[in-house]
């Protein structure tokens, strides 16, 4: 192997790639801008929709409000988001969408008489959004009134609200802003990170194999005074580099957008979260990403190298891409533990390593198994690639089948 030749070939691949619209879009622009833009759009959309719903007025009918609770009635009357109406047949009107909810104040069911106690029955149509919203507004209003009322009654007895109500539950989230942010990032980032590794490597893998055949540059390359191993290694490093860069750019862009988009959203909802990856996790994430980039690149290159043109290459690589990405979607469920068995599953194991590393959790035995499994996968893929280039019809592009057919006819037959 000549590293001088590999460098020349590698730089040629990178130079061409950076001038290709599809590769630049998929490996650089998309990872940087797609997800931040998506998050910004989602945030803007949510803000817009919630603004729109706040402006909508709920048509509510009150019935038999006890005189002693007139402040509650006043609260309904003064609320600009509520219009109090009267109906002769409220249930039919709710069904017809002419009324959003009916609030009936009825005597409490309890046998023990409690002064000023009341019970409300809310009639609404759950299948209609305005009716649901009206119910939510009524619930909120009554709960707030109840709290104020109980606080006042407790004050009369010289007690606090907490002392007045037995079995008071108070909670204190000890996770802190940073831990909260890491937890949320752990749920989202690994999946997108892996997807970006695949997306970033896919087009370079196709371009450097099927693309060469389509442009008729493959034969030109085969007549150069360097070994086929050098050509293979240079192409492989180039695809892995593009895959890795895409994932890293995406990770940085995601962290930035989570901080700038999700941060304000959380603060508005009085939730605290800071989006920072622990410094000591960076090497673990990087090693996992490098191994995965190497494995994915090898897999995609092997499949794409059987294609005669770019389009065929995309068709051949797409199932591999889906086979990698779809299963890891299931890992997004919170609470999945990183077991030894999970560490044996390629790709899924790296997803878990990255997820835990973002949260500052390190299961070293599982991390060790993951790295070993991924290394074995990379070596296996490279061995297959080395065996492929020994076949002349594969090299000159005269082999007419796919990798599956080739493996069945040549690779498996020999080993069996």
């Amino acid at each position: 192997m000549s590293w001088k030749d590999i460098r020349v070939l590698y730089l040629r691949e990178i130079r061409s790639a950076l001038r290709d619209r599809a590769i630049v879009t998929n490996s650089i622009i998309l990872p940087i801008f797609l997800y931040p833009v998506m998050m910004w759009l989602a945030y803007t959309g949510i803000t817009f929709v919630s603004g729109q719903s706040n402006d909508l007025k709920s048509r509510i009918m009150l019935e038999n409000v006890p005189g002693v609770h007139s402040p509650l009635k006043r609260d309904f009357e003064t609320d600009k988001s509520i219009v109090l109406t009267v109906s002769t047949d409220p249930v039919s009107d709710i069904r017809a969408g002419k009324l959003d909810a009916l609030v009936e104040f009825v005597p409490p069911k309890t046998s023990v008489p409690i002064a000023n106690n009341f019970e409300t029955r809310i009639t609404y149509d759950e299948s209609r959004d305005p009716s649901n919203r009206a119910k939510g507004r009524i619930d909120q209003k009554i709960a707030r009134y109840r709290d104020t009322y109980l606080e006042r009654e407790a004050g009369k007895l010289g007690l606090s609200r907490e002392q007045f109500q037995n079995f008071w539950v108070d909670d204190d989230n000890v996770s802190g802003e940073r831990r909260m942010g890491q937890f949320l990032m752990g749920l989202v980032l690994p999946i997108i990170f892996i997807i970006m590794l695949a997306v970033g490597g896919m087009h370079p893998a196709i371009d450097s194999t099927a693309g060469e055949r389509e442009h008729s540059t493959w034969e030109t390359l085969m007549t150069t005074a360097t070994s086929r191993t050098n050509i293979l290694v240079a192409k492989y490093l180039y695809v892995a580099t593009m895959s890795f860069i895409a994932a890293l750019l995406n990770l940085a862009a995601m962290m930035f957008s989570m901080g700038t988009v999700l941060g304000p959203l959380f603060r508005r909802r009085q939730l605290d979260a800071t989006f920072q990856i622990p410094f000591q996790s960076v090497p673990v994430i990087l090693v996992g990403a490098v191994l995965l980039a190497l494995f994915m690149s090898a897999g995609m290159m092997i499949l794409a190298s059987f294609a005669k043109n770019y389009k065929e290459g995309q068709t051949m690589v797409s199932p591999f891409y889906l086979a990698l990405v779809v299963p890891i979607m299931f890992l997004q469920t919170p609470g999945i533990e990183f077991t030894t068995r999970l560490a044996l599953i390629p790709v899924a194991n790296v997803t878990m390593v990255i997820r835990e590393a973002i949260q500052g959790i390190y299961h070293w035995p599982q991390i060790g198994i993951t790295l070993a499994v991924e290394t074995v996968c990379v070596i296996a893929a490279l061995r297959i690639a080395m065996r492929l280039i020994q076949h002349e019809d594969f090299i000159v592009g005269s082999y007419g089948g796919s990798f599956g057919k080739f493996a069945k006819e040549r690779l498996l037959r020999r080993t069996m």
Partner: protein, 251 residues
């Protein structure tokens, strides 16, 4: 002095799913002398490209040997490729590299001395009048300019042996003439050229010696004058037809 290209009993057999075993090249032998243009004249499917692909080490021979400047095509393929320039209609250029980058890349990867690469690139740019377009991407060049860049990249590493496999296929008359002129110039510089074509006028005009190839076998090999003398025919077309028919009768 030893001949720079020595081919002995070279054969190539393929397995084709439709046709079964196909003997594309059948035990051919020839030698090329230093500084000559050696022509392989044959119809489509005669075995010209397969022969040249074996010489350029893209394909491995099924049997026989071939040596380029003493380097065996099987035992030392890299040594062969280092001393060889290969040009054919199927060897395209990287569309997203500029003309300058293309020549630079092929000079380096074909082991031209590192310290002299820049000088060589500039020389070739001047030689092929590419200065105006040197920093334009190949994909944006006209077909004539692409042709020039293709020849420049073929000789970027200054090889002693150059193979031109049907170089004028698909070119218009003017571009074809330019390619022919380039080949003549290279011969005058002392390069040994193996030139394959099915166009009789090209072979007549360029080749010092012509080998008529048909059905994977060389039917005759001589200078044009020698071929005329041995057949009694004047036109190469008539000579070619005569040998092909005789070859078919023998088969």
């Amino acid at each position: 002095m030893n001949a720079p290209v020595v081919v002995s009993n070279l054969s190539k057999t393929f397995y084709d799913e439709g046709r079964g075993e196909v003997r594309a090249v059948d035990s051919i032998s020839f030698q090329c002398r230093e500084g000559e243009v050696f022509g392989l004249l044959g119809a489509n499917g005669a075995g010209k490209t397969t022969t040249l692909r074996m010489l350029s080490t893209i394909l491995a021979p099924s049997s026989g040997t071939a040596n380029i400047l003493g380097h065996d095509v099987v035992l030392d393929p890299q040594g062969v490729r280092k001393n060889l320039g290969f040009y054919s209609a199927t060897t395209a250029l990287y569309p997203r590299l500029t003309a300058r980058e293309t020549i630079d890349f092929f000079a380096r990867i074909n082991q031209y001395p590192e310290a002299r690469v820049k000088e060589r690139v500039e020389y070739l740019i001047q030689r092929f009048a590419l200065a105006k377009y040197a920093d334009t991407r190949v994909e944006k060049l006209s077909s004539g300019m692409k042709q020039k860049v293709s020849i420049a990249r073929t000789i970027a590493h200054d090889p002693l042996i150059i193979i031109f496999d049907e170089p004028t296929v698909g070119l218009d008359v003017l571009n074809a003439l330019e390619v022919q002129e380039s080949i003549s110039e290279l011969r005058s510089e002392g390069k040994t050229i193996i030139f394959s074509t099915h166009i009789m006028s090209e072979a007549e005009r360029l080749c010092d010696r012509i080998a008529i190839i048909h059905g994977g076998r060389i039917l005759a090999s001589n200078t044009l004058a020698g071929l005329r003398e041995s057949t009694g025919q004047h036109y190469l077309e008539d000579i070619f037809v005569l040998y092909v028919k005789a070859g078919q009768e023998t088969v």
